[in-house]
Amino acid sequence: MADGVAVDEVRLGQTEAHLARVFAGLKFRNALFHLLTLACAWAVLLLLGGVIVSLVIGALPSIRAFGAGFYTTEVWNPVTEKFGGMAPMYGTIVTSTIAMALAVPSAFGIAIFLTELCPFRLRRPIGIAIELLAGIPSIIFGIWGLFVFAPFLQEHVQPPLIALFANVPVLSTLFAGPPYGIGVLTAGIVLAIMVLPIITSISRDVFETVPDMLKEAAYGVGCTTWEVVRFVVIPYTRIGLLGGVMLGLGRALGETMAVTFVIGNAHRIKASLLAPGTTISATIANEFTEAVGDLYTSALIQLGLILFLITFIILAISRYMLMRMHIQEG
């Protein structure tokens, strides 16, 4: 009898000790896993910090050598090691402006079609097609632009454009010849085709958040479809739309491959949109592997830093606006 109790107590003691060990093990593993995931979350932030720090360090020689003059100098001469970033910066801004001017109205139009006009059976297939197109690598657009679009422009579009505007004051300088095919305008159009699916799919998502009741109320007081879009849908989704446009702009500014093929890589600022130019990303893509000398490499890295800072700000504004829209939505 007494022996039995003692044995039970011993067993109980053993199981308790065993359980304690098991629990301690579980706790330890949980703490370890928690720490591991926390470290990875920090890694995302460190990655951003790492990018900025490494670019700044890489750009230092160039920043020291050229100072503020880097932003106002057009000269880009690897032989004399004089570098100025104005031409690529100008090219980046002009190509992105052309791209946005073409892509934003089209994207809004397609999004309005998808949410207000399209028969229900077609909505899903067209929507999916647009999302799939948004995932197509940009090099595809670049190769098409180089082999198909640029020769087409050179033969059939640019000569009549030049002739048409030859005697119009401002436009004659914007569309001054000769027709190369490749150039700033071509790059802008290819960029527009590339960002179109991106802006369209965000605008469509944003338009879909408008409560049906608001639209029905507008129809109820006799609005036409366009008036519903213009005075109900667009004002209601203003912030989200702006976010989508900024996201597209961020992509257009940093896009490399679609532009590099068709811009011509010339470090000159020309008033004509038909002339070859360059953008920040195209300059880096074209010249980085061939850059000899620390200063040349450093100047290219400084261009990269400028690009990263600009797109960072644009994308941050975009995300902030899209976030605000989600909060407003609840």
């Binding site: 920090w42 890694a43 995302v44 089209s106 995932g135 690598p137 036409t224 366009w226 879009v229 994308l315």
Partner: protein, 279 residues
């Protein structure tokens, strides 16, 4: 009545414009894909998959480029995806309401659309400069940097969709948090997590800019990750800009292969997700 007619006309005009945009926008994209299919299939032959990239002016294939792309993509995903999943796990599970999560989500969304050429510069500075030469490993790390934000985003989104009741039931059985996550949350979100990885692979399989000055290029077959390695996008870039007909044809064929791979991956990912939603 005149005012009403004018309003109707106005509406018709602007909505008509929408139809025009749809026709032009979608027509344009269809045109690009059509050209790609025609030009790409013209050069498609068994030699593309069995022969190396040729010297200028000769016939050849894309074997070394395809192999290089597969190797670097694989390493990039193996490095980037687990990191991204763990970070996403923190944001959805341990730190759902912490300030860090808000900040990481914001930064991650920015990294998601940051210019990929800057990623190339970053990896060049960190790896190529310190190793002293270009290498496939550096290219793979550049791809991993692009994989990371994609996987973080989808992992967080998918884990947030897992119902609370599942976690609570598991916790009530006495499971520790890490076991709840591994055995319950991950399992419930499995299709979504796979979708995220597939989307990440689709994203990097066409990336050119970050490989240009990390992995560089290689005219021959190489499985050594410490040496420069060819990849499909870089070969396309180089061949398309060359004056040789054979190279340009191979560039089209390579572009077709990449597009088909990306479309297959995105469609699979989408199918997985709809399957999940149907359940």
């Amino acid at each position: 009545m005149a005012i009403y007619d004018a309003r109707r006309r106005r509406s018709k005009f602007f909505l008509g414009l929408c139809y025009v945009f749809v026709a032009v926008g979608l027509g344009w994209l269809a045109l690009i894909l059509g050209t790609l299919l025609i030009e790409g299939f013209r050069g498609l032959s068994p030699a593309v998959f069995t022969e190396m990239t040729p010297p200028p002016g000769a016939e050849g294939g894309l074997l070394n480029a395809i192999a290089g792309s597969l190797i670097m993509t694989a390493i990039g995903v193996i490095v980037g995806a687990p990191l991204g999943m763990l970070a996403g796990t923190y944001m959805a599970e341990y730190g759902r309401y912490s300030k860090l999560t808000v900040v990481v989500r914001f930064i991650n969304d920015i990294l998601l659309s940051a210019p990929s050429i800057v990623v190339g510069l970053f990896v060049y500075e960190v790896m190529v400069v310190s190793m002293g030469h270009f290498s496939a490993l550096a290219g793979a790390m550049a791809l991993a940097v692009i994989v990371l934000p994609v996987v973080v985003r989808t992992t967080e989104d998918m884990l947030l969709l897992v119902p609370h009741t599942l976690r609570e039931a598991a916790s009530a059985l006495g499971m520790s948090r890490s076991i709840v996550i591994a055995k319950v949350a991950y399992r419930a979100a499995r299709a979504g997590l796979i979708t995220g990885v597939l989307l990440a692979i689709a994203r990097i399989s066409g990336e050119t800019a970050p490989l240009l000055f990390t992995a560089l290029n290689n005219q021959f077959f190489s499985a050594d990750v410490f040496k420069p390695m060819a990849s499909l996008p870089v070969v396309i870039f180089q061949f398309a800009l060359s004056p040789y007909k054979e190279w340009q044809q191979l560039a089209w064929t390579g572009a077709l292969l990449i597009t088909l791979a990306v479309l297959a991956l995105s469609i699979t990912a989408r199918a997985l997700q709809t399957q999940r939603n149907a359940k």
